[in-house]
Symmetry: C2
């Protein structure tokens, strides 16, 4: 393995280790010392990539807003639904994504780094605005308001689902959208939307297939 590739994998392993630590302990209780034990590196080995807990948290948040797996659809609203379903599939499987939520609900981390919710709201507002221009929304729907509410609702469903013994985030988000969509889109659009909890897995597999770069990079 080339030196640069090894460095990339090590950095990834550190970041995922930090994300798991933030998820389990919270930001305040997490320390670089604990992370060194978890990823089995020397202090120097870790410091080559990250020199502080703050830097690790920022790197986690840098990756939080991702549209990976979303591809153009006949209906813009399908892309909006896909974004939510893809996140629901990925968050339980990718500690960096779940840690970005954990950092956003931590008062200390939030005071230092803010959250990525405004960015999610912007992405969602843009998709909804395009959908509205194409006539896919009820005429009275305000994209920014729906974006704000759905970013909140999605986040809360994730936070609660993780505490439920049999909680399945894909199924919960699919059910949430089944409740919300009739108020957002007219029946003829609703009839064409696929909100299946199994949709995201296929979209992601397609995006990550041979011709696409492998994501997330496997830890070394």
């Amino acid at each position: 393995m080339a030196r640069q590739e090894r460095a990339i994998r090590t950095r990834r392993a550190i970041l995922e280790g930090a994300a798991r630590m933030f998820n389990e302990l919270g930001y305040e209780a997490s320390t670089i010392g604990m992370l060194i034990e978890r990823v089995q590196l020397t202090r120097g080995g870790l410091y080559f990539h990250f020199t502080s807990k703050e830097q690790l948290a920022r790197a986690v948040l840098d990756e939080a807003v991702t549209r990976e797996g979303v591809v153009p659809q006949a209906l813009k609203m399908q892309e909006w639904v896909d974004l939510a379903l893809l996140l629901a599939y990925r968050v339980p499987r990718e500690p960096v994504l779940s840690a970005s939520i954990q950092l956003s609900v931590d008062p200390k981390a939030r005071s230092l780094f803010g959250t990525r919710w405004p960015d999610w709201m912007a992405v969602s507002t843009q998709l909804l605005t395009e959908a509205k221009e194409r006539g896919e929304l009820h005429f009275h729907i305000e994209p920014a308001q729906v974006a704000r509410l759905v970013v909140g609702a999605w986040t809360g469903v994730q936070l609660v689902t993780v505490t439920l013994p049999e909680g399945n985030l894909s199924e919960e988000v699919s059910a949430l959208f089944a409740l919300l969509l009739p108020s957002i889109v007219p029946p003829e659009v609703l009839a064409k939307l696929d909100t299946s909890p199994y949709r995201a897995e296929h979209l992601l597999a397609a995006a990550r297939s041979a011709d696409a770069p492998p994501v997330p990079v496997a830890p070394s």
Copy 2:
């Protein structure tokens, strides 16, 4: 002021001080020492009421599930809506209630004390089940599923709204219910439901008026 009444007020002031501290710093960074400074008591004065941070957190969570202000309505679904609107009005004004949410999204606190979400789901499921028996829900609605989703969605909207410069939780929750309700209740029920963001203030004022006991009841 009678000795017992003074003790009740002191205990309340300590609990609210602790709640504000948990909200601002998170559970892990909070300490009894800081709380003593904040509430301007001696260590002995505080220890008379609470002997540990754990005990304070438990006392906060003990008060989390409250139906104060909800009164019988012609439609059970109005009581369900009222519960959500009352909480939306109270949480930004009552630090003990917002702290219970903060403790529920804190990994350390959650590992020690759990959350009150199962209790909220039970309260919500019961109201929805009664509403369903009265024919107020679409026939395909599963009360437990909707209760679970709405506890999550409500919580996430609260967590996101608190970070927005002009965020108004009553308005956000009212808008969330306006989106959700058409999928839950038939049109003839929907037409009779009041989801106004101003409703809770009146309900609460009525519950707290002269002839009602002052609530929240101060614990001894």
